[in-house]
Assembly symmetry: C2
Homo-oligomer: 577 residues x 2
């Protein structure tokens, strides 16, 4: 491609609304243009990146035996009503009416349609296993879209759906997708981690997220640097930090802690480490029949409650909420901020202690009296043992890994998700097949998503510097840029650039020749912003001295190479970019 | 591809609602599955065809210098309000509201968005000319979608938009697209015709449709078999069939024509050829100020009125309608069916004669009295000359071509359209650039569409027989199918099939090996339905005799070829398919 025949339009400033670096840089580089909130035009270079990502995804999906089809963007409400998601899905599901006032949705995902296809197309065990995928435009009506392609409303996703005879076969299909995802993200040139993830309300048994590692990521990943353990923070098991119950050394004492409704303030007032304090969280559940039930969760003052883990506790799995002040007062006779487990009516509230809290001795907690806490609190002596001990908290960096070693935490951007669905959708839509015994059996499903457009943003969040983007070669808008200086005046420069350009094209390199005859500073700034992985600069003086300059986007300085060696050098450098 | 690892699901019967052959065959072959009215899933083989069409379109667009980008499916109402089409576009424009009750559309076309992009991206004459295109999902909310992919609601289209400094440059951009379209439809392997088309209400000066020739097409194409003249019926100029005014030989006579409100009945009652009769059509226009105006159109009894041509007549260009019976009665004092130009008040009605009618003598027309017609009517003698003589009718086969030779008519399916837009959208959206003199000038635009998914249906309408589809090689779901007979039992068959399969793959041939171990009748019926252009059959008996059978889809019978020559033979045959 010649720049003069392409559309380049870089901007000095990013729009003020662009909060994340990928949004800022893609806009400045002219890769995307906003048309409405969360809706963008992929400009030519943005589309090139997208297509390169799609091609790698497609190749590896095909290699894994998945079969590509294309389901529509506009889907009839009937299928979503059959699965129950017409009601369950929130406002992100854009519901529309056609000219005949019939209901449709703009698809945010295609479980319903693919299950409908499967129940019509799959009749016999002989047709199984099968895995269908498509790469399609999706729409999620985010309330406040604002992170560019990181969280757009209209976006491109690859979603695959496997159908199997039984759970063992479905697990094999899952494993095949997991392996394909490893190949995909490796080929994309991204630093990533497959992390075990929560299966949520779907209730399947297995789920992994593929996370691109980036400091700006929204997700927290728990991992062990010395093993292959990785899980997202919702799922990662937090260990008990005390091998045994600490012995009671202090007497129970009521301490004045005025204006100290938080553990941090209590610890400061009492001159104790935060890790000696225990915070009380009161939850409520509303059973189908009978009165409200209250739950007192106890978590160490320096730890955070993990809502997903709480939602899996016995009695709390069908949904819970924070207790109201009135509900709390009816049992604790005290306002929040000074609550604690000592002296509470265990008929009226179930006490659940985090694993670490259950082993603490001489701890500090609220006295159930405004302005007072208790210190030197000990299980057994000052209050009965907890009703339940469980993992209630988020892992923190430095926690011991129960499998050995120490846990660390990093941030990531979720770009892929593999999920064993079981029969959730196939049962709702009655998608069955005839087994070898001639009897109908329900299909076992898995679903496997990759956020194609999101990957382009995640790649930038992971790979950029103060000058712009730094693309991995595999998904760069161009692999090489040739910057001839003074191409308008110098025949030697023009001929050398043209010759190298043609030689690179002949080698299948995706090269752009910047023939705009712009000043070097403008060319360099543009291509550093755009993040082309390798730049070749040709100038009249250099050519006279028998050199061209070759510089990878991450190199601190250029290498000087003889023009005759430039082609071979570029091809060699590209291998590692 | 191996059939055992692919998804094949052919049907014996087409759905009753499938009215056109492409819809029937694509459904039976399992290439599409209906999800809702006019909304389909492209099943794996249907998608393969689509992608092959897209690839050819993309290659030729790029070769012509157009630059690909991707505009969104969901577009904000504001841009459509700015162009005026939010109000003008009918119910086919699906208008939707997001969660914040903001108005959007599902794009049926992207003039507004591309013009918005152009006004933001194009600042200087130095950036011109430029041509942007995308291949994207579109939605037109057809009232009664029923022709499969011929007229779906959700469909895939390529649309390109050129931007130029002035009209001369815009015409060159138009010519470049016209040439690219010629290459595209030639490469697709379709018999097509570029026909001059009406520019309609947009008022541009040039427009061509690219029509795939098919007896089942909805459009009528006028062409000259001995020249390159071709135009759609709306535009094609109909000549005067009488070189000079016919002399008056008969006397004016009032004839009883009871129950004869149509020329066909009048001609039969009077024992005259239909071509001696003249029909009267009364139209009305409603000026912004003043009373309704009436117009009497006179067309030979065997000719059809061309509404597009009528719409271009002076005084009728801003919209016309049929006159009401009351309006007709006020001038003609007679009900429709017996109207004519003799004796009418020429102050109250403007008489416009078709070119041929203006040269007729001794013609028959209504007597303005129910149950009577006049014969022997002659201009000048019996009534004043027409107020206007114009081309009012459709061409009929056999009409002389004013440029020499004779015109013929065939049916076609519109699959592409090139259109010079001028400044319609750029002026509405104020898309300007700075000219060399530093002053702003309005961009000149062209738009260029190709119905990607429609092409797949049009290819079938043009190429099929009673057994199924017959794909041109370039867009066939597979180029070659290998049908090994008894692959499950015969090692020789399996090995020969596998060997040829691998050899074809190595040559880059898109081949499918039917390894389902099905009976030959089933295999042949499936692949003839699917329409793979070339089939190779391998059986144990044939291999013993040293032959495999190679049959193109259109061949009456197979050729027997030595297995060692099969590869070369297939490659040679493919060149002409």
């Amino acid at each position: 491609m010649r720049a003069s025949q392409y559309h380049l339009n870089t901007l000095k400033e990013a729009p003020a609304e662009a909060e994340v670096v990928s949004h800022q840089l893609m806009t400045r580089a002219g890769m995307i243009r906003k048309i409405a909130g969360g809706i963008y035009t992929y400009m030519p270079m943005g589309l090139k990146v997208l297509r390169k990502i799609e091609a790698i995804v497609r190749e590896e999906m095909n290699r894994a035996g998945a079969i590509e089809l294309l389901m529509p963007v506009v889907q009839p409400a009937e299928l979503w009503q059959e699965s129950g998601r017409w009601e369950q899905y929130g406002a992100e599901l854009l519901r529309i009416k056609d000219r005949h006032q019939r209901d449709f949705v703009l698809q945010p995902t295609s479980e319903e349609v693919i299950t409908d296809i499967a129940r019509n197309e799959i009749h016999s065990w002989r047709q199984l296993p099968v895995n269908f995928y498509h790469i399609q435009t999706k729409f999620r009506d985010e309330r406040r879209p604002r992170f560019g392609l990181m969280r757009g409303r209209e976006f491109t996703m690859k979603d695959a759906y496997s159908f199997d005879r039984d759970e063992a076969s479905a697990q094999a299909s899952y494993d095949a997708m997991y392996a394909a995802y490893q190949r995909i993200f490796t080929r994309l040139g991204l630093t990533f981690r497959a992390v075990a993830a929560d299966t949520g309300s779907i209730g399947g048994t297995r789920s992994h997220e593929f996370q691109v590692i980036a400091d700006t990521g929204e997700d927290l990943i728990v991992y062990n640097p010395d093993s292959d353990y990785a899980a997202n923070i919702e799922l990662a098991e937090a260990p008990c930090l005390l091998a045994e119950r600490e012995p009671a050394r202090e007497a129970l004492e009521k301490r004045a802690t005025p204006e100290a409704p938080k553990c941090e303030i209590v610890a400061e007032q009492l001159g104790l480490p935060l890790s000696r304090t225990v915070k009380s969280v009161v939850l409520a559940t509303d059973p189908a029949e009978g009165p409200v039930r209250l739950w007192l969760l106890l978590i160490r003052g320096d730890h955070e409650t993990n809502e997903v883990k709480v939602g899996k506790l016995p009695g709390l799995g069908d949904g819970y909420r924070l207790a109201t002040e009135a509900e709390i007062d009816s049992v604790f006779h005290c306002a929040p901020g000074y609550l604690g487990p000592v002296g509470v009516d265990r008929q009226a509230v179930t006490v659940i202690a985090d694993r670490t809290v259950a082993h603490m001795g001489d701890f500090v907690c609220g006295a159930n009296e405004a302005g007072y806490h208790l210190s030197g609190v000990n299980w057994g002596r000052d209050l009965p043992e907890p009703d339940l001990v469980a993992d209630l908290r988020n892992v923190v960096a430095g926690d011991p890994d129960p499998r050995g070693g120490t846990l660390a935490i990093q941030r990531g951007i979720e770009v892929g998700h593999v999920f064993f669905l079981g029969d959730k959708y196939s049962r709702a839509l009655n998608a069955t097949f005839l087994e070898t015994d001639g009897k109908p059996a329900v299909l076992q499903m898995g679903c496997y998503g990759i956020g194609v457009s999101r990957i382009s943003a995640a790649a930038i969040e992971q790979n950029h510097d103060e000058r712009g983007m730094i693309w991995p070669r595999a998904i760069a808008p161009f692999e090489v840029v040739l910057c001839p200086i003074g191409i308008g005046k110098s025949v030697a420069v023009r001929e050398a650039a043209e010759s190298l350009y043609q030689a690179l094209l002949a080698q299948g390199v995706d090269v752009i020749l910047d023939d705009r005859d712009a000043r070097p500073g403008i060319m360099f700034a543009d291509w550093e912003l755009i993040g082309v992985p390798l730049r070749v600069t040709l100038g009249e003086r250099g050519l006279k001295d028998g050199i061209v300059e070759i510089q990878a986007r991450r190199d601190a300085q250029a290498q000087r190479i003889a023009p005759a060696d430039a082609l071979a050098h570029v091809l060699e450098r590209l291998k590692s970019l």
